[in-house]
Symmetry: C2
Subunit: 249 residues, 2 copies
Amino acid sequence: MLYDRGLDFALKQTRDAKMAKLDESLLTGLPPFSLLDRSQIREILDAAVSRRYEEGTPIFNEGHGADRFFLLLDGYLRVVRTTPGGDQIIVLHISPGQLFGIAPALQRDTYPASAIPAAESIALSWPVHLWQDFTARYPGFATESYKTLGQRLGQIQETLTEMATQAVEKRVASALLRMVNQSGRKTEAGIEIAFPVTRQNISDMTGTTLHTVSRLLSAWQREGIVESTRKHVTVIDPHALVLLSEALP
Amino acid sequence: MLYDRGLDFALKQTRDAKMAKLDESLLTGLPPFSLLDRSQIREILDAAVSRRYEEGTPIFNEGHGADRFFLLLDGYLRVVRTTPGGDQIIVLHISPGQLFGIAPALQRDTYPASAIPAAESIALSWPVHLWQDFTARYPGFATESYKTLGQRLGQIQETLTEMATQAVEKRVASALLRMVNQSGRKTEAGIEIAFPVTRQNISDMTGTTLHTVSRLLSAWQREGIVESTRKHVTVIDPHALVLLSEALP
DNA sequence: CGTTTGTTTGAGGAGCGTCAATAAGTGTGG
DNA sequence: CCACACTTATTGACGCTCCTCAAACAAACG
């Protein structure tokens, strides 16, 4: 678990009102801040802006000036690129506790993709000019940030190879598994993806059409592998999906 | 041009023999070192190992321990990932003057992909533990390194969206254009890709088969857009390729 | 000069996208 | 609370791309 006790309370406060001060428990234990003491976390929080973002409305847009960097406290984000032709593809998802929009770490002055809340979300943000302060003053911050960046690069390469070599069925199976692993919550029936997902979303993750995704999900539902309602998918038999995602023939 | 005068000579020396000392002109003017003075470059070179790598034999392999980082002096590299199923895909190409194998910058302890010379190549390398020394002691080094990393991340995202949304013909056209832009050298007929490329290589860049690539190149040759011999491709009419790569219908 | 590596081309057919129509939820306003 | 609009999902029919299989050729190499 990412959070220690008391965090839910702190989050609720953050969500409910404009508070004079953010609670320190919000950051305690998150990798980029794990080495810092209370007073340092206080400094960081005092420089932060906390804000709620509605489902569907971009936090920032591809190509726009990167003036802030962010930390997701609650919710889920899609990182999305749009082609000149109007197709859009979902590059990856961001879960609570992760930094995002960290263009400044790579000396970029525009965001390379858009960030769109898949569900109502709460994030902290800081102006970019603080990035160098943070890396200079707070031990472990740079290290951990570049580590997540490295993981994200790896993830994207993974998706790329998958896209280039695997058939649609396997890509969809893998995409579902990725979402389940990142955000699955146990229910009576199986493991449910924690945020709203449409067939269109899944097709944007896998480079196919919503029709094909719908057909696949229907078939899998008949076989008892998944169950789905409007905007929600529950995986009943993860192992079967794993097999589908790696079958050789 | 990347190099100042005298560099060809320095390179030849490097290639020909185990020299007592590497020439300083090798690094002068390259972005990661552009802010440094002669003595600093001397230090860096004295810590470097220079080595020649044969076409086709990996400099390092995906998943192996990342113990060194590199700078390509001469030649061209393919950055390659291989799937469990044995398919391989070319993630990007590296040109002279670029850093590569910079896993340490992202706190990784293994290389996320293999680096394979597309042609005979020469590279400098340093043990990873020097990475932090470099970033701490040499102004501009960290900044520039992370900048190239950012560009590379952008490039991969670009390829990913292309792969997910564009038909094979456009992907192949784009791949050719990318190689031409990165390494094109002017000839009488047109612009030639500077390193050996097989149809198989192109199909590994675009997630298709060598057969399809062969058919496309044959067709384009008939139309006077490209010309190709075994392992070499010359683009006669780049504009036509651009049109092919972005045609809407 | 045989062997290996890269290229070309054809024939056939499957996968998956496109087009089309319908149905099932969800939200809004009177 | 119902009517209406809108979004999301389902399913069938059709056919084009592009992969697979197959065979033969051309160039490089020892």
